[in-house]
Amino acid sequence: MTVPTPPTTRGALERREARLAWSLLLPTITIVSLVIILPLLAIFWISFKPVGLADLRPVAPVIRESLRERSGEMVIEYRVRNSSQQKEIVGLGFTDTLHDGVTLGVLPEPCSVDGSALRCDFGDVEGGFNERIRIPVTLVGDPDALEEMVEGTEPTGYGTGDNILTNTEFTLDNFARIFDGDEFWSVLWATTFYTVFGTIGALVVGLFAAMLLNKSFRGKGVLRGLYLFPYVSPIIAVAFTWVTLLDPFSGSLNALLIQMGVVESPINFFGQRPLALIMVTVFEIWRYFPLSFLFILARMQSIDTDMYEAADMDGASPFQKFWYLSLPMLLGILSVLFLLRFIWTFNKFDDIFLLTGGNAGTRTLTVNVYEQAFAISNIGAGAAVAVVIFATLLVFSFFFFKYISQEEGL
């Protein structure tokens, strides 16, 4: 008699299921790789290249055509220009179609005509190349209509410029540039301060808020909804509101503080070191405490109340109950939230960008990406900062998977 054993190879059913699974996932995988994986690879590529904002417009020939009269004789004038001041164009030239009624005179050096097609070749030209070609013409017919016709057809230019994004020129300048000098350390300090205190602050404040609402009373739902406002509203709305509220000249908070006699003269909250960094961190705490509050509250409400009743019987005081019973139960969710918020705070860009624009010592790594790439127009340096961010994140995600995956539900 044979003993039934589980199959050792994959059956037809199982293979069919796997095929279905992959076909269901394929669209997602495709679109995600296109928009996330490819750009990620691209950023590594760009970080080793000296790319400026201006390089995004490829080098191209610019050709203008006009018909004009010169010392009693009609000429067609072509202005041929290299759009770049620095980069050369290989095989520059243009073609144009001639009209009936236009007869060309003596052709200048680089041009030739074939039937009704005019063609001028300049070969390889340097950056800043700028030349006028004048071809004398004789016109038969209405000069105005002819002028319109001649200028109406666009000459087609050709020639290829070297594209910095696709060539094989690599350099470490971008990295040297961002790691060089004190600025990098101040950026790193701002990032660390913002991330560490923003994360811890949001957790602690969220814990307090959760404790406040962890009992039933009338109006609890309203308060819970209210406390979520900062997180739900658009960043653009709340950031500008804070800027308005804390404005040194017309801000209500300064007016209030002066009236209360707390300060003598208005405080420039977002404009001076080190207050600006503290304020953006406070803003971060304000905006993201609702999230930790929501999670901690959910976990609190799933704790068995029997335990507290037993503790009450044993005469435990409220603080003892919190410290010895609630806190250990919340430790799991708190550590998960810490890790998640830590990563997300580290990644945060919009908040600081809208509040201070990275001024007054609040430039974090993410803001630095924008600053390098768009304010200084050095895309390569911006990409190099992005690579630094990405490398740091890889380290974080290692911890993330090591600890988070064990936590059920996240």
Partner: protein, 404 residues
């Protein structure tokens, strides 16, 4: 510590702290409401706080204490012992209101805090209860103030005129005499700044983002949750990993590619990016939900001759309608609030989304109330959704909060 646990001392100390909390609260509230000058009087708070705490501990008759206390406050109103001090131009009825409000909101909660306290030594339990009640009351006030004040300022600023704001930044009273003119910044935003079109752009971009996201994430989530295939665990993990890639890192290459292909400044360009940022969240939330559904119903469907896709369409989707609502709301919120990509990719004012439109108002030439009116316009739809569907929204937030 032992001295602190004497009923009288506990009452006096908590009374003292609460008096300051209340005096500040009343002053700030009335200042914001009227624009007049109110501030807490330290000496008055000190004396009245201690007196109130002691009175509640030793007299034990809250109603009587409250009556007497309010009267005392009114009497002290004109002396340096007043709990709240007034600026020069504060009319008498405002002063009276401030002092009475202080009296009521001081004694009434304090009585609740001290309900278990009594003269003589307190048990540790009774003492900590009193402290916790004080901290709770304090917490409610601080949290509510901290959350509400910015939103209050946002709405009220949008209704003011530039001159009124500069004259007194604290005055948020509504000048009803202006009538419809109150909403001038709103009508100007819609009339001159094209906000109607921004609102519409944001709306349809968000709705399309939700639809595209669901289209991709429902099959994906089902596969991850229900089907067995090699690489399932790795796939789940890579979903989570994608959450962690910051947008600013991706924005740079996307900007470059879009500039070169002419997708920059176009709505289809945005619609290629937005769903991809939300698909991982949606996929993650949905697969968690699908996994929680009983598998037997689906198996019964399979036995009855339905194909897998029919099972998804006819059984799984109807069962997971609440999850779909949560996910849709959450994705809608992300797309509606999105700022960075819209800011980087859109330059042409005729194509702005709402957040990009509001960012445009942040210039020194445009008065502040227009910026705040823009902020209100951006906030109202999401708030309305949130308040109307709070249950789903909270669920969506908890499930999808990995997205920061």
């Amino acid at each position: 510590m032992r001295i602190l646990r004497q009923g009288g001392v506990t009452g006096a100390v908590i009374g003292l702290f609460w008096a300051f909390v209340m005096a500040i609260t009343v002053s700030v509230t009335l200042s914001f409401a009227s624009g007049l000058g109110f501030r807490p009087g330290s000496l008055g708070c000190l004396v009245l706080g201690v007196a109130g705490g002691l009175a509640l501990i030793y007299l034990r008759n809250a109603r009587m204490v409250m009556g007497g206390f309010v009267l005392l406050c009114v009497v002290l109103m004109f002396t340096p012992l007043s709990p709240i001090l007034f600026g020069e131009a504060v009319p008498i009825h405002w002063q009276l209101m401030a002092v009475v409000a202080f009296g009521v909101f001081f004694i009434w909660p304090l009585n609740v805090m001290l309900v278990e306290a009594h003269p003589g030594a307190l048990s540790r339990h009774a003492f900590e209860d009193a402290v916790i009640r004080f901290l709770t009351g304090f917490g409610y006030i601080v949290f509510t103030a901290v959350v509400l004040i910015p939103f209050y300022v946002m709405v009220m600023t949008s209704l003011k005129s530039q001159q009124a704001l500069l004259r007194n930044p604290l005055d948020f009273s509504i000048e009803l005499s202006r009538g419809w003119d109150l909403f001038r910044s709103y009508s100007e935003l819609f009339g001159q700044f094209n906000f109607g079109s921004y609102l519409w752009t944001s709306f349809y971009v968000s709705v399309l983002t939700v639809l595209i996201t669901l289209l991709f994430s429902v099959p994906g989530a089902y596969a991850v949750a229900r089907l067995r295939f090699q690489g399932r665990a790795a796939f789940s993990r890579s979903i989570l990993l994608i959450y962690m890639v910051p947008m600013i890192v991706l924005a740079l290459p996307i900007y470059i590619v879009f500039s070169m292909t002419g997708l920059r400044n176009t709505i289809p360009g945005l619609l290629m990016i937005y769903p991809v940022t939300t698909i991982p969240v949606a996929l993650y939330m949905l697969q968690g939900y699908f996994r929680g559904l009983p598998g037997e119903v689906e198996e019964a469907g399979l036995m009855d001759g339905l194909s897998r896709l029919q099972v998804i369409w006819k059984i799984t989707l109807p069962l997971s309608l609440p999850a779909m609502v949560s996910v849709s709301l959450y994705v809608f919120m992300i797309a509606w609030n999105e700022f960075l990509l819209a800011f980087m990719l859109l330059d042409d004012p005729s194509k702005f989304t709402l957040t990009r439109g509001v960012a445009m108002l942040n210039s020194s030439e445009i008065p502040r109330q227009h910026l705040m009116a823009g902020a209100v316009i951006a906030t109202i739809p999401i708030m309305a959704l949130f308040l109307g569907l709070e249950r789903f929204m909270t669920k969506g937030l908890t499930a999808g909060s990995v997205k920061g």
